[in-house]
């Protein structure tokens, strides 16, 4: 298993598109006036949108090994804002205890253009093609 690095630019258009798809119209995401008065000072992306992008990167790099038996434990550390340029870095790690034959572990760090970690993940995929 090899790691990967992907980059992605968040836009308000994409946040709005995700809100329509998911029907999650939390004003923190889609209402600039409401969001400006929040502690965030502006709109932020849905956590599940950011995680969907991470999942998309996993699917692009590992295909069905992710979709058929992946695990992911994600923590949202900082908000992702429109205009943020995200870098997704995935590095292989050892397998989970007791699962050496079945899966390959990995760690993912998602940083923004200021090199601030916005999401960190631990996870695993099948170690062999299924």
């Amino acid at each position: 298993m090899e790691g990967f690095v992907s980059t992605f630019t968040m836009t308000q258009e994409r946040i709005d598109g995700y809100a329509e798809w998911s029907r999650d119209f939390n004003p923190l995401h889609v209402n600039p006036v409401f969001a400006a008065q929040s502690p965030f000072g502006g709109t932020i992306a849905h956590g599940m949108l950011v995680l969907g992008i991470v999942g998309g990167a996993l699917a692009a790099n590992y295909g069905e090994r992710w979709l058929k038996g992946g695990r992911l434990r994600a923590r949202f550390r900082e908000p992702v804002r429109p205009g943020d340029v995200l870098t997704i870095r995935c590095e292989p790690k050892g397998p989970a205890r007791g699962a050496a034959d079945r899966e390959q572990g990995f760690a993912i760090i998602v940083t923004n253009q200021r090199n601030v970690t916005v999401v960190d993940c631990q996870g695993a995929i099948f170690a062999v093609r299924v």
């Binding site: 992605f8 994409r14 598109g17 995700y18 798809w21 998911s22 029907r23 999650d24 939390n26 004003p27 923190l28 409401f34 929040s38 849905h46 956590g47 599940m48 949108l49 995680l51 969907g52 992008i53 991470v54 999942g55 998309g56 699917a59 692009a60 295909g63 069905e64 992710w66 979709l67 058929k68 038996g69 992946g70 695990r71 992911l72 434990r73 994600a74 923590r75 949202f76």
Partner: protein, 132 residues
């Protein structure tokens, strides 16, 4: 149902869902994810399934504006293909109030024909717990 009415150990049966190929197409557009077809079956991204299951939960449980997603665990136990009916059960792992905010940890079980397909744990914090 209001979020503050949830109690640890509570189980909720949510509306079942069926993901169509068009749903995946739209999802993949916003997440820049590729379409994965294996053995002639288009697979549903697990993050999509969890997002849809969470939406079903929100149809039942009212969360206030300003609710923040803290973390998300996802475990794929069995792949899910398009056009398969998925049953969803939510279990409240933890519901607690700290500094006026409601912290919820909710486990989602997605099953296809009673076979566990995806397990997810969603953690959120909702503001203004006293008034939720």
């Amino acid at each position: 149902m209001k979020a503050c009415d949830l109690a640890a150990g509570q189980r909720l049966t949510l509306d079942s869902l069926k993901i169509l190929s068009s749903d995946i197409e739209r999802y993949n557009e916003v997440t820049s994810a590729p379409r994965i077809v294996t053995d002639g079956l288009e697979l549903v991204p697990p993050t999509l399934l969890v997002a849809q299951a969470f939406w079903r939960l929100m149809e039942m449980v009212e969360l206030p504006d300003g609710t923040i997603h803290l973390g998300q665990d996802i475990e794929v136990l069995c792949p899910v293909g398009v056009d398969q009916w998925v049953d969803i059960e939510a279990v409240v792992n933890r519901a607690s109030i700290r500094q006026g905010q409601l912290f919820l940890f909710i486990e989602l079980w997605l099953r296809v024909q009673e076979v566990p397909a995806v397990r997810a744990v969603t953690s959120v914090v909702a503001p203004g717990a006293a008034s939720i």
